[in-house]
Point group: D4
Chain length 252, copies 8
């Protein structure tokens, strides 16, 4: 029940063609979301400022291309994550204006007039093997309208490489840190910056890395209190939250 | 907003003292549960047929006794689970009509006129060490108004003991099976009976039982398709669901 | 030893052609199942009301087709689960009247005169990735003679989608809920309905989902007491138990 | 080497009393932090806006009281977390102006002139057993100068209780959600609000909750992309990051 | 139904006072074990050659003492395992002829005329911390009537200590090897002897021993093909199986 | 240093051509195995009674065929386990007298004059999916010269199938039980027979079977004290130990 | 900022063309590593004595070949680990002087004048399946300029094979021990030698070896105090540390 | 058989009073260690340079005191680890010259003439909670005759604290790094120094630290190749190996 329908029902009560009892029964039987437009809409309007997102893993190239195409037709920005080469080929054939970011395994379509970026997200990663997660985060945050600074290959085994980037780190509203293996980098970064750090454990490693579980546990136990964690390889989720933080911090 | 309040609002709309727009605004801003009495009430009325339940673990004896007392004062049946001796002493002092079932670690208060039991639950356990979970299930199901048959100490290492109870098992609407260690009993029972089996892994065992995890995994992998599982030592939850099944099956 | 054989033996004892000692020896040496026809038969007759089931995973297409064919020849209903495309092709070639349900990975053959469905099972799932488990459950329950209502794509991140289905949920005798990732949906559904909920964790997810283990643990720890759990992706088992519950509740 | 010392050294170079070679040698041998005041100081000045924090677990009451006393003597705000009754007694004896928050297991001392709170953090928890973590978060955020709204006992098994708080939730800059057992609440909250959600798994539960691991895994696999996670029972860490987010979002 | 009862029933059939139909009904309704004396008795007669065993863990001293007393009264040998000091005191008070083996945590009562030991079991352990499991095994095997040779403190870090015992090891029919920490000893012993080795992982160790899980895994992966494994600290089970092996090998 | 060499050295001492000091130095420097022929030889002579065994997994078909060929050339019996089709083809081409057992994934070559089998091993399995492990055990035990009785497809969900085989089971010297999923069968068999049971968990199952870990844990926690366990799918190891037990029990 | 640059800056201060304040500002803003040449250079100069290393896993053959070529062009020694056949082909095509070690999965290029090896590393492994890790260690240590003694196929199930090598082991400065399955070998070796043992768990095994986790846990729990452990299959890391130990011990 | 005994035997052979055959038989039957004095003695002589060590955990104060006293009576240095207050009291009463190091939970007795320390071990720890492991390492290394430099409280969340100690670190022959929580410190230290790093995970932390498992996994996955790892909290083992490394590196 949208607002006009509700008003019409209440108008009928006012007009006497529907009794209060009848109206009460109909209202009680309505699905929640129909009534709750006020609350839900606040949320949706917020989200509508962000592109629609398709999780391509587990979908066939055709399925992803079809969904992508339908979304694109509405004129909004679109993002597909975890898209392999075949999926990219299908989507680009269907929506030539879209663009494939191979390392990020992401397809983007920008149709909105790109406003000035709002907020600043630094994306840090430990090694070149962490690039898929890092680039997924960076591409996502950029499409969501935030400025992104990439600081890559600054693993803790050569700590001076990271320290050389302190000034750059100091300008971000939030830092995303992607690391596999021992997952130590977010703690070090968290000690250097004064903003929230979103840690992304990656599945980089072998043996006792247990496909990212070691990095995940390390990050959850960070001794830096400004570190919080998302799922293994979840660059998209890190960027989603980081965008919310950075845009809120940057807006006046 | 309860029903009278809603009717009054609608009556004011009918009377013209509140406009449809004003009513729409008030309705949209209401907490969900106030409006949705119809759906929730269906649920609650169902549940109101069952006693109120207090999970005493992690509450002080005084807290449990106070909550138990307030509930008792409303005249309904009350159940407290995971209650130790000290808690029992506190509750019985506060509500002398209540009763402590030591092995089940449960305190019950029956204030309703006990109707004829509806439905039949068999509670089976492998060994005497499984009795706390089994008795928690049995006491719960009895208080919930179901007939309970206890078939205890029929572990799979002496399979003839279980087979001797086949006739008895065949009369139940649902069977609760509590077992620790290897957790094999539900599969065997599931192969014998033609009704749902609710498996309760218990924390009985040592070493590689990992506090019930071995039994839990065994039950989840049961080769009998009529077996489903609840949390380790969760006799209460098993009885709750079993009661729903047995009563529905037995009612005409 | 079936009943006639036993009677014949006893008649010979009566007639004196077999001594009690000889009869005792023969009786003691008999396999259990031969004697226990009364108990086992009760079970079998119950089960014979349900189709025969073939678990096709780990069998070659030829093996599955051969077994399916032999069963079909007896005139009963047949179900094969976890059947891939190649298996489906082999079975359909062997038994043209059978039907492949691709998403459910199931092959069904209905040969009985379909009675009016007895009982009502709602199958709920969180996202489109959970469809294989959900459809396996739905197809199974339907073949077993129960009415099935599908409520799909109502994950907890958009809770209003689920709430909009409350009325529909309220009419089921039992609800099957399939969810991967965090596995939160059964708890929410369990709080809304007043009937048993059978939770099916699915292997949907990545990273810390550990192939469904996260969802499994979540469901086992449900704070709704009417939730019980089956193995990861075990839509068939959930439907088997749900059918037993729904038919018992619906029969008069 | 602080700034004046560095300037003095350089002045001596300018004056000719120290050669460039000698200065080079001294500079190269200095500890990093002495030179890097610019970068580190930015960070420290940010953090100096927040109270000093003592993690009391594993320290004796006397040790905690001594550290607390030394910090208090400097005139700043002080927070001690994971403090039991004995520790509280020792600290309050040493610093009578401090205050013990029993449920939060926290001791606070406010000595700064409390400015108007900046930013708004909502702290949500599923059940009363989650209160220690929730209160630790709330007390921390309040001492850090943020407005805190507590929304307690809104677990997913009674989803209407949460939905009734949607308007309140909508006013926060960030939401902290504490939940044990299945850890489902952050996903539901994440779907309702448009701001970051920091999920705190709690060790509430038994059996297959594995001391909070089930809730932790559930939250890491949240299907709401605005959820990130901290360690089990880490209310302090959640509040630390939430304060950073809320204050940045609220400042003009 | 024991054998005389069955014969009496069949005699009545022979005599005509019970019809075959009546006898058939009674036979079908009998518990399995009553009829199946032949098979079960074979088993029982075997087991009756061994003492009755009480698992004292989780039983109160009074309960254990009462069960022990009842068994003792029948004149058979009795064994109680996992008995602490308090339990031992209660049992010895009730049955003065019993004896407490503190290191083994076992109470034994020998009432049978001790025959010449049959078979030879070597019990090997890695360090003094493994003695509780090793002694439980040794005491059990001795009470069960087997000769036991103890070879203790021969851990793999000083391999010459073990090698010095090769001749002694070579005389056993089966070897029980108890070891914690890395659990390497069974593999080495398995390579030296030509008889079955039963490995008992012990909970000795700390940190990454995970209460015996490391030793358990090590033993399960033994590269010696004559090694099989029992539960952590399960000296009793190892001795039970070892006794069966040794006695069968030694009897003529 | 073999015996003749040692004797020669000692003879030289006796003859005075080597001093005791020189002999002492040479003896101390010798590798252990050279001197210890007595102990090691006992072992080897025992093992030499059994065929040589090749673990083909991780070897190329050519490597396995080459090793098999060299062993075959010495005239002894040979066994290759975990051999796939390609390996079998290579071995049969190299050693035409060898034979491939596809289900067991084993290649055997018998060249010894087959003596009368000594001892009797029963191999029991729960379902047809357990056949690879069960057949590996059976083929191994047969080649090792033991009589094997196969009792297949007697899972606990249809317990009467197993009970019908009690007489057959009662004649074995040792029972190997292979089962996946919940791994319950060894406990039931252990309760029926009076001989050792060697449990082989299989990797049969899905989801929470965790590739055999659930069955493994179940078997380690067996409530039947005559059960011991080998690694997942390790039919060969079970047969190796079972053969040792059965032959020792059967020899006179 | 390298040393000349710093001296130039300071010279300008001395000359008065840069004020101390300006110099202070520039120094504070420099990346750490530029200033800290003294400390870092010590480290780098040490490392520059060792070849550059490329971890080829996760890189395409072309990428590895390109990196390898660039490094080779500088005239230093180069090592690529985890290189498959395709990668080897690409590298050898690009740098014909390089050499592929198939079992070690390593590509080496020696361009330095090979000095006399310094230090002595023994590489021990349990079985032929452990050769990839063992050879990776051996090839690495050799390229790093250390003498390597290979002692292979001396698993603990035939302990005499290892004992025969005691003299050889006694001459090493450090021992690397590679073992899968139960991982028992390092403890035995650690008890025999008086030098550090670096244990490399390998992923050799199946079932409960859990891809090397069993061996890893065993080694971490070693009862020999001179054993330390690296990641599963990490022969390279073991050799890196072993080289540091052996060269330091051997240098005069 | 010690050397004199062997010589005497050989002398008898020389003298003709024992035949070569008799001597051969006696030699073959001797325990290995008796003969192998040459090899073992090399090892023992190395170890005899180090104090005897008692692992006090799991021993009663009286047992530890008795063993300590017997060792002390021989005039050598003695070390007892994991000793609580009660054990310390018992030992100091028995051996007044011994000394208790409370934080290290270690008791030491130095009776040898302390030579100049040989080699230099740096012991680094992340926080004050890691002190028990760090001090156990430091006290052990000191008693073993090595110089120890303590660098404490330099966790990665304040990386400048560690960097300030680079010069000090650069002088050590080997570095022991103790850290709990995320266990990131060894990787950072490993990148700074050019000597072996022995990482000691500590059980410091809560929740997802899983009693040190998170730190252990982090360290095993270190991206610094000069890091190897010992068991959780195993400061003693780290110091044992570190001493071997440092002394070998420092000796001329």
């Amino acid at each position: 029940m949208n607002k006009p329908t509700l008003l019409e029902l209440l108008a009928r009560v006012q007009a006497g063609s529907v009794t209060p009892e009848e109206a009460s029964a109909r209202l009680a039987a309505l699905p929640f979301e129909d009534l709750d437009y006020a609350k839900i809409d606040h949320h949706r309007s917020l989200r509508s400022g962000l592109p629609e997102v398709i999780y391509a893993a587990g979908k066939s190239p055709e399925q992803t291309a079809a969904i992508f195409g339908r979304m694109a037709a509405t004129g909004i920005d679109v993002l597909a994550t975890r898209a392999d080469q075949a999926t990219a080929a299908a989507v680009l054939a269907a929506v030539p204006a879209s663009r494939y970011h191979e390392q990020a395994r992401a397809i983007t379509l920008r149709q909105s007039n790109a406003a000035e970026p709002l907020g600043h997200v630094a994306v840090v990663c430990a090694g070149t093997s962490d690039l898929p997660a890092a680039e997924e985060a960076a591409i996502t945050a950029e499409l969501f309208g935030t400025r992104v600074t990439r600081i890559y290959d600054v693993g803790v085994a050569g700590i001076h490489r990271l320290l050389a980037q302190c000034d750059l780190l100091a300008t971000a509203n939030v830092v995303i840190v992607c690391a596999g293996m021992e997952g130590a980098l977010p703690s070090v970064v968290g000690g250097i910056v004064g903003v929230p750090v979103i840690a992304v454990p990656t599945s980089v490693g072998y043996g006792a890395s247990f496909a990212g579980a070691a990095a995940l546990l390390g990050m959850l136990n960070s001794c830096s209190p400004n570190v919080c964690v998302v799922n293994i390889d979840n660059g998209f989720g890190a960027a989603y939250t980081a965008t919310l933080i950075a845009r809120a911090a940057a807006k006046k």
